[in-house]
Structure formats: C-alpha cells, structure tokens
C-alpha cells in the first residue's frame, strides 16, 4: 500500500511541474503583457512603462522570470547567460545552499516553492493573502451547497435505482436532464427576478452581508461586529446564502444523482445482493448494508474529484450574486490584467485538482479490497 502511495505521489510531481510551465506560458504569450492596463492611459509614457517593467523584474528574459517566480533562482544575483538563461550562481541561495530548498536552509523567500505568489499589480497586496481572504466566502458558499447537493443526490439516486422506471425515477431523469442543460447564470438571474428586488423582494440578491448594518465582510471591524452580534451576523449571512446555494444545488444535483443511480443499479444487480435476498434478509438490510455500501465506492471517488470544484466551481454564481470569493477575485483580476493574482489562482486550483485526483485514487485503493496495486 505505502509503495503504491509513494509511486502515485512521485508520478504527480512532473504533472505539477508541467502545470507551472503551462500557467506561465499562457500569461507570457498573452499580448500586451502586464503593461496592457496602461494602454488607454495617456498620462503613462513609454519611459514610465519601462520603469514599471524594471521595478517588477519584467525586463528580464522569460526563463529568468519563470525561474524567480518558481523560487528556483535567487533574485539577488543578476546577469544572464547568452541573454536567455539564468546564470549558474543564481541557483545558489544567500546561505550557500540551493535556492529551491526551504527558507530556513537556503535563505530564499521568493517564488512559489517558498509559498510566495508575488504581489498583486492591481492592489499591491500579497497574492497569497488576497487568495486566502477570498477563499473563506467561497468555502462557506460552496461547502454548504456541496453538503446539501450530495445529500439530496444520494436520496434521489438511491430511490430512483430502487424503484427503477417508476414515476419517481422518470421525474428524477427529467429533472437531471433539465438541470444539466440549465446554465448556472440563467438560473441565477431568474431567481433574482423571482425573489429579489424586481419580484417578490423577500431575499437579498447581492453580497454576503448587509452592508448597511455591518462593516464589509473580512475586515477587522467586521470580526468585532461578528463577536458582538454573532446571531444577527450569522442570520444575515444565512439570508444572503439562500439564493446562491439554491442555484448551485439545483445545477449540480443532476450529474451526481444520475451517477449514484447508475452505481446503485449496478450494485443491486450483483450476485451477493441476490444471495442476501435469497437467504431471507430484510429488504432494508439488503439495500443499505449490501447494495448501498458497495455502490458508494465509485461515488466516493467521484465526490473526491469534485473537491477542487469547491474552489473554482462557483465563479458564475459568485459573479451573479456579487459574492466576494475566488470567482469574483478571478474575474476582477482578468479585467485588470493582474498577472500575479491570475497565476496564483490558476496554480493553486490546478494543484488542488492534482491533489484531489491523488486522494481519490488512494482512497479508492484503500476502501476497495478488490483493487490490486
């Protein structure tokens, strides 16, 4: 088992490395570059632009930029080889150890390997801190939606499989088809029309908290307010959560409930289920102990693969309901050509995908004794 885990982890390393290269390439190839944000500003001269590039290290050859961004190269050592490659001594940190080693050994603090994603061009804040701040609202929103939709999908999927071709099953099929076809943004807009200002006007449709009643979410003042009026603050967030959570749940139940239904049907057709029925076990025991437990094996993997979705999946929902999470952060950074922030978001989410894949494989090998590794 541990051999399998080690092999899988080792296999993931080149993929992670490839991701950093692709993320870097996408943004390197983008026309205009980080100075594109000044394109329509007549007060920024070309000298200003050059100074900006120099200050951010953007005047260096791409390979050196990548090397520093990764944290492989020491930014204190200048110069280059043939105008393209980083010089050999750039790989050595200030303490004499290779730069890529952890900070206490190499003395290096720059780059992804040392947990430094750079500084946002848009706001001047640390990218890691920005992403960390945006992560909490996203986790609250998608985490809650995730728990609800997995639970409902389980109930629907298992019942549809138990009563195959019944009216309930057919209704669930239609719902899944429509839910799958429905774009998130359209559902969100329709909900705003129905429950928000233009319609019944009973639910808030924008933001995470009532900005008239409390300081903006995430600020120090907000947490003081939260400590003083915990119940009110929670109720406020809860009210703001209803519509976005509902949107996410409806759109995502579709695929999962179909998957659970198929998995459950397969388990119900197995010989051990027939044996269990034949020896006279009560239906409940057969359903839940024999069929469901085995049907859940592939479901666990599938849900594991959805974990990165907790981070990226709510981009549309967040935009429509002005939820201050990762999605809104990404959209804002894309509008502002904020390269470091975009690279940070892309990198962290891709790493999460790889991690979830790894976790799903390992958990699957662990829970299913039939898997040989």
């Amino acid at each position: 088992m541990s051999k399998y885990v080690i092999r899988r982890v080792v296999q993931a390393i080149p993929v992670l490395f490839g991701i950093t290269i692709v993320v870097y390439l996408i943004l390197l190839l983008a026309p205009g570059g980080p100075t594109a944000r000044f394109a329509n500003n007549p007060r920024v001269t070309s000298e200003d632009r050059d100074a900006f590039k120099k200050a951010w290290g953007l005047d260096q050859p791409p390979l050196i930029q990548y090397c520093r961004w990764m944290g492989l190269c020491n930014p204190d050592k200048g110069g280059n080889v043939l105008g393209v490659l980083p010089p050999a001594d750039a790989f050595i940190g200030n303490t004499g150890w290779p730069q890529f080693l952890p900070t206490p050994i190499s003395g290096g603090t720059n780059g992804v390997l040392h947990g430094d994603f750079g500084v946002s061009i848009e706001t001047g804040e640390d990218v890691g801190a920005r992403i960390g701040r945006a992560a909490l609202p996203t986790f609250i929103l998608v985490g809650l939606a995730f728990i609800i939709w997995v639970f409902i999908a389980l109930v629907i999927g298992v019942n549809a499989a138990l009563r195959r071709y019944s009216i309930f099953d057919q209704a669930a099929t239609v719902f899944a088809y429509v839910g799958y076809a429905m774009p998130t943004f359209w559902l969100g807009i329709m909900l705003i029309f129905t429950f928000g200002g233009p319609g019944l006007n009973i639910l808030p449709v924008s933001g995470m908290t009532n900005t008239r009643a409390s300081p903006p979410f995430g600020s120090d003042a907000y947490w003081t307010y939260f400590g003083d009026h915990t119940i009110n603050a929670l109720l406020d967030i809860g009210r703001h959560l209803i519509l976005p959570v509902f949107t996410l749940v409806v759109v995502n139940i579709a695929g999962d409930s179909r998957f659970i239904r198929a998995s459950m049907l397969e388990a119900l057709g197995q010989d051990y289920v027939r044996t269990a029925k034949a020896k006279g076990l009560p239906g409940r025991v057969v359903t839940f102990k024999h069929a469901l437990r085995n049907a859940l094996l592939p479901v666990v993997t599938n849900i594991g693969l959805e974990i990165p979705f907790l981070f990226t999946g709510a981009i549309v929902t967040e935009t429509i309901f002005s939820w201050p999470g990762i999605g809104s952060l990404t959209i804002g950074a894309t509008r502002a050509f904020d390269y470091p922030t975009l690279m940070g978001v892309l990198l962290i989410t891709s790493f999460l995908v790889v991690l979830a894949n790894l976790l799903a494989d390992i958990v699957y090998a662990f829970v299913d004794p039939r898997i040989k590794y």
Partner: protein
C-alpha cells in the same frame, strides 16, 4: 461477393418459412430486407423517442440559424429608431413575441434568431477542432505507444488539471478580442483532452484484436491499419462524445460572453444578449434574459437526447 454469401446463407431460411406457411394454409410471401450498418443504426435510433424529439428540435434550431438572419437581419449600425424609449423595455406582445430589450429597444426575438447562428457556429466548429486534435493525439499515443504515449498523456494530465473554465476565460480575454473565429480556435484548443484519452483507450483495445493482427500479418501498412481498420471501429464512441462536446461548448461560450470576455456584442450570441440584460436587471424585464437562456437549455437538451440515442444506436452489442 458478400451479396452472394448473404443469399447463400438466407435462402434456406426463406424456403423454410414459406414451407411452414404453406403447411398452415396461409398465403405467405417472404421478402428479405438487407440492411447495412447505417440502416440498422437508424432503425435503432428511431425507437429512441427522446432522440427523435431532440433531432427535431436541433433541426428547427439549425434551420432558424441558417435561414433566420435573412428574414430578420440584424443591422448593428442602423438601429431602427424606437417610437418611444422605455428604459426597462417592453414585455412580450403580439408584435414582439419575445418582448423588447431595455436601452436600445431591440426585439428580443431578432437577437435570439441572430444569436442562434453565432452560438451554434461556435458550438459545432469548436467541436470539430477539438475532435480533430483529440483524434490525432489519441491515435498517435495509442498506436505508437511507449515514450511518445507517455509524453502525450502527461500533457493531457497537465491540461486536465488546469481549471479549464478559468483558463478559457483568461485566454478569451487576452487572445480573443471578441472575435468569433479566435474564440472558436481557443475553445477547440482547450477541449480535445477528453476525446484524446477516449481515442487512445479505443486504439489500445482495438489494436490487440485479431483482425488487426491479421492485417499486420498480411503486410498492410500502418497508415492503412489506422485509417481502414482501427478508426472506423472507434467511430461511434467518438461521435457520441463529440455530440456532448457541442453542448458543453455552447454553454461555455454563453458563459464566457456572459462575463463579458467572449464575443463582441455586434455579433449577438445567446450569451452576450443575456449579459447585456444584467445592466437593466433591477428594472424587472425578465423576458430579456429568459428567452436566450431558454434557447441554450433547449439546444443542450436536444444535443444530449441525440447523443443518448446515438450511443444506443451505434452500439453493436445492442440489437433492435
């Protein structure tokens, strides 16, 4: 030769049936209907009621996309002057069955009809690019194997690990410039990975089958083996996942345009029409975003139904 073989096989059967019918005293004539693979597939497809409905919806939508803009042309530069500006637009009426937008007071039906052309064009042509790239990569990886396969599949792993929605969004913003063709290319370049994995696995399993071995034994060239022996057998799974790719690309286009990074509003698509409605959201004009969204749902539903039908019809193991 095959015709000859068939009649040699079926003649005794026909005679047997006619003999029994005669014994039972029934006047009975047997005609044999020989069906090729496509006719068989179509026969199975017809039994799938939802697939036929889906095909009908898709047919209507494609007709609207091709013919519609000639009947209701969308002139961006000569906007007809509205008789009276109503900021929120007007709800559906007999003259404007889908209502009128706020702002420029456009007929929503006009936008939806013209949007159908761009949206479907993006969906179908980016699917074509994705399928071509995916098939080539998958074939090479599956047929050559070894080191090449390893490298190509690691590339696919990396691409699939990226949050594709984010990447498409960023790429559309930085490279797309609202241009329809660039958006199509971006979508195509970012949607081939699933197909390539599928084609590779098909190649790996078909490559080991007896008829390929036989072809190799009689000295058929690699090229002929790939194009005449393996690819035709891999055809149906590719068609099914291609159909699903159309649906996902149409939704993704709508999503990217909706966020304002997609196709320039001078070419209306269902996504950017929806997006423009956001500015006037609080005026309560539900008909503006409602109808373009409904079209997206209809298209995706239709494509999925057809895909399901194709899956059943092209599967040689299921018999009608």
């Amino acid at each position: 030769m095959s015709q000859h073989l068939q009649s040699a096989l079926t003649e005794p059967l026909v005679e047997e049936v006619e003999r029994r019918a005669e014994e039972a005293g029934v006047d009975y004539e047997v005609t044999l209907e020989s069906l090729n693979q496509w006719q068989l597939a179509w026969r199975k497809f017809k039994k799938h009621r939802l697939a036929i409905i889906g095909l009908g919806i898709l047919g209507v939508l494609i007709t609207v996309a091709i013919v519609g803009p000639f009947i209701m042309p969308f002139e961006f530069n000569s906007i007809p002057k509205p008789d009276k500006i109503v900021p929120a637009g007007r709800p559906p009426s007999l003259v404007h069955p889908f209502g009128e937008t706020g702002g420029l007071q456009r007929d929503v039906l006009l936008l939806v009809v013209n949007g159908a052309r761009t949206s479907l064009f993006v969906g179908f042509s980016s699917m074509a690019i994705g399928v071509i790239i995916g098939t080539i990569v998958g074939s090479v990886a599956g047929f050559v194997g070894g080191f090449v396969d390893n490298i190509l599949m690691r590339v696919v792993d990396v691409m699939l690990s990226l949050p594709l929605l984010f990447v498409i969004l960023v790429a559309s913003r930085f490279f797309g410039n609202g241009n329809v063709f660039l958006i199509v290319v971006i979508f195509g370049l970012l949607s081939w990975m699933g197909i390539s994995r599928l084609v590779r696995s098909l190649f790996l399993s078909i490559r080991e089958q007896e008829f390929v071995e036989a072809a190799k034994a009689v000295g058929v060239t690699d090229r002929r083996i790939i194009f005449r022996h393996i690819l035709p057998n891999a055809f149906s799974p590719i068609v099914v996942s291609a159909s699903l790719l159309i649906a996902s690309n149409i939704v993704t286009e709508a999503f990217v345009s909706f966020l304002g990074f997609g196709i320039n509003p001078i070419y209306p698509t269902w996504g950017n029409v929806l997006s423009n409605s956001l500015t006037f959201l609080l005026q309560g004009n539900w008909w503006w975003p409602f109808f373009p969204g409904l079209m997206i749902i209809l298209t995706v539903l239709a494509v999925n139904f057809v895909g399901d039908g194709l899956r059943d019809a092209l599967d040689p193991r299921s018999r009608a």
